[in-house]
């Protein structure tokens, strides 16, 4: 069950301190805020280079009201492993969280992430995926969508497909993997609660639409994040110890007829302004394929 708004609102502690350097409509602060509500008292955050390196605030102030350890790009999974090991030895409780962008998880930090996963380290990795290296100015990453324009795919858009991090993590046979979207904070909150209740390696792939990077107006962050789900382009699911479930907020869109047209999602985003009708057809086919795969996984992992 998604965590009710009223329950979240009872937590007075703010994970995000107002007046931080995040852009207007930033999806990361939206995610961090929910993280703060659910795990603010228990979490320590390991943050590799990325947008959150800046969002954390300008010295002497911090913009995140949780312990934050900034670390080099490709090190987060390993640093978190070390913290978790130390806490075990010292006997200290806490949820060691890696809060990473897509570069830090899918690309430069992938080996480290994979290493921590296969060792089943007692850490929770959250990838706040805004589908490009936004902090350095919108360069394509391994998770940038096919055809999305970035400053390193400036004309045709990205020619390769999006790396499916969550499925890659699932095949590391870890106890917890889920996808989430900043459009559904109460679903994300539930997944954080579920993940925090488990020991071992936990992974949440959080879709974080970025206004300047995807080129939509700042007021549309949550709207675009919801459209991604409503068009079926982003599927919410949760895997816990052998059981795979499509999340309630995505469930209706298993039926292609109930999905909103993908054009609605693409049209809002300047990064797709150049796509041709045949590209849209390809994207539709890919969405359907992803759904087939996820449904197979649900059938396979009945728990």
């Amino acid at each position: 069950m998604p965590v009710p708004i009223a329950k979240l609102a009872q937590v007075k502690r703010k994970g995000v301190v107002p007046g931080n350097p995040a852009c207007m409509g930033c999806p990361h602060t939206l995610g961090l805020k929910i993280l703060g509500k659910v795990l603010g008292d228990r979490a320590v955050l390991v943050v590799p280079a990325g947008c959150t390196s800046i969002i954390a605030g300008v010295y002497p102030r911090a913009g995140i009201n949780m312990p934050v350890l900034h670390v080099p790009f490709a090190s987060a999974g390993a640093v978190a492993s070390g913290i978790a090991a130390a806490y075990d030895m010292i006997g200290r409780d806490g949820v060691v969280v890696v809060w990473s962008g897509d570069g830090g998880a899918a690309d430069i930090g992938f080996a480290t992430l994979s290493g921590a996963a296969i060792r089943n380290e007692n850490i929770l990795v959250i990838v706040s995926d805004n589908e490009a290296y936004m902090n350095t100015g919108i360069q394509a990453s391994g998770t940038t969508s096919w055809r999305a324009r970035t400053t390193t795919t400036p004309i045709y858009g990205k020619t390769e497909e999006k790396k499916d991090l969550a499925l890659l993590m699932l095949l590391h046979r870890v106890p917890y993997v889920a996808t989430a979207s900043v459009g559904y904070p109460t679903d994300f909150a539930e997944k954080l609660e579920n993940a925090a209740a488990i020991r071992g390696f936990r992974f949440i792939h959080l879709l974080s639409p970025c206004p300047p990077g995807w080129r939509f107006d700042a007021d549309k962050t949550a709207h675009v994040a919801k459209l991604a789900v409503e068009t079926g382009a982003w599927i919410l699911w949760e895997y816990i110890n052998g059981r795979f479930r499509i999340s309630p907020m995505s469930r209706p869109y298993a039926d292609p007829r109930r999905r909103k047209p993908i054009e609605e999602y693409l049209r809002l985003q300047g990064r797709f302004s150049h796509v041709k009708p045949e590209d849209v057809e390809f994207i539709k086919r890919r969405i359907e394929e992803n759904w087939r795969l996820v449904k197979e996984l649900e059938a396979f992992y009945r728990g």
């Binding site: 390991v46 987060a76 390993a78 130390a86």
Partner: protein, 397 residues
């Protein structure tokens, strides 16, 4: 009171592992690389058998090895890692991040040449790439000293006047795979001398929100560097103090940042570092027998650099010969540069680069180098000492 010790015959790598056991290290993360591998294999065995109560993290790379022990140190644990050559280079980013966070831990570096070509034998190039970062960097001459420095490393590193990472170097194969008798203080003695780590200077814990290393004014970066500089400087005092204290628990001390060998009346000084110092000492003995007034200054600590010690030696002698096992391309041998920067032309300094890639360099070679160094000085041919000499007697172009 007599020190209570146990003596075992151990290869260098096992001696380091024994020091880790006695220091009750809590988190170890490492990636195997020849010739370091045996250290971490032995530690893994200690952890699995329960001889050492610690977490052993089998990371997927050296970058992650140092990243993991960085996390452990930031969380307040006593941590250790070990590597060699390319492993150290792969760690390079983390070497800086860790040290500039002002956190203590120990890293054992089993020195090895950097490729290409692949070469698993010793030289000091890897160790000396770290000299610009705020690490305390030591180099052992023998297996006993590798053990002693590893144990002392925690004491020095965790001292509130230092709180910086500590690197102990030991020559690949020459020490790492060579068995020697090693005298070790008992666990009780070590426990009394080395209490559990205190989580200084800062510690990451849930419920205590702060951000470590936020962007900020440029001046703050410079101020932090200065504070690190001060801590490295203070380490001189701590190293000397720990070296003296160690006498009480282990029955040995080495003389602080350097070892002085037959220096009191020496007019010519040879400077070396690491295992081949033993061969160099033998050459000194032989030349002494012939009446040549030569002595040896062995660099035990590269950082902080033994400036006073070098100056003191320079004040009483005619010329210095630095025999280097690492080179700074386009300038000179690394120790040659270091020594010259302290001596500043007070007396002439000759620099010889030798033994790279583990090239065998015996006492006869040192004898040859020293003999020619003295001759050149006495016949006034020091002008060509501006350039280092590459010692390759076998080499024909």
């Amino acid at each position: 009171m007599e020190p209570r010790t146990v003596t075992k015959v151990l290869v260098g790598n096992h001696a380091v592992a024994e020091a880790i056991r006695l220091a009750r290290v809590q988190v170890v993360a490492a990636y195997p690389i020849t010739p370091q591998t045996v250290i971490v294999e032995r530690i893994a065995e200690m952890v699995e058998s329960g001889e050492l109560k610690a977490k052993y993290i089998r990371v997927e790379s050296e970058h992650s090895a140092l990243a993991a022990v960085y996390g452990a140190a930031a969380a307040g644990a006593r941590a250790f890692t070990a590597t060699s050559s390319h492993g150290l280079l792969y760690m390079y980013e983390m070497l800086w991040w860790l040290a500039q966070s002002h956190l203590p831990l120990v890293l054992a570096l089993v020195t090895r040449a950097i490729g290409p070509p692949w070469n698993i034998h010793t030289d000091h190039q890897d160790l000396l790439t770290v000299r610009d970062a705020p690490w305390i960097i030591a180099m052992a001459e023998n297996v006993q000293e590798a053990f002693d420095l590893t144990l002392q490393g925690f004491k020095i590193s965790e001292d509130k006047r230092v709180l910086l990472p500590f690197m102990v170097g030991l020559d690949g194969f020459v020490l790492s795979h060579t068995a020697e008798p090693v005298s070790m203080p008992t666990q009780e003695t070590v426990d009394a001398w080395l209490p559990p780590r205190e989580p200084e200077p800062w510690v990451l814990e849930p419920g205590k929100p702060f951000a470590v290393g936020n962007v900020g004014p440029d001046e703050v970066t410079m101020e932090l560097r200065w504070l690190l500089w001060r801590a490295v400087e203070r380490a001189r005092t701590v190293i000397r103090e720990v070296d003296r204290e160690y006498e009480k628990i282990a029955g040995r001390s080495y003389g602080g940042l350097v070892e002085r060998y037959r220096l009191s009346d020496a007019k010519y000084v040879v400077v070396t570092m690491g295992a081949w110092s033993g061969d160099a000492k033998e050459a000194v003995d032989r030349l002494r027998d012939e009446g040549v007034p030569v002595g040896l200054l062995r660099i035990r600590f590269v950082r902080p650099f033994p400036k006073e010690e070098v100056l003191e030696v320079a004040a009483g002698s005619r010329a210095i010969l630095v025999v280097d096992r690492a080179v700074s391309m386009g300038n000179a041998g690394v120790l040659g540069i270091e020594i010259s920067s302290v001596v500043r032309g007070r007396i002439p300094v000759k620099n010889v680069i030798a033994g790279l890639g583990g090239t065998d360099t015996g006492y006869e070679d040192f004898e040859d180098m020293i003999r020619r160094f003295v001759e050149e000085y006495e016949s006034g041919r020091t002008d060509k000492w501006l350039e280092p000499e590459w010692y390759m007697p076998w080499f024909k172009r």
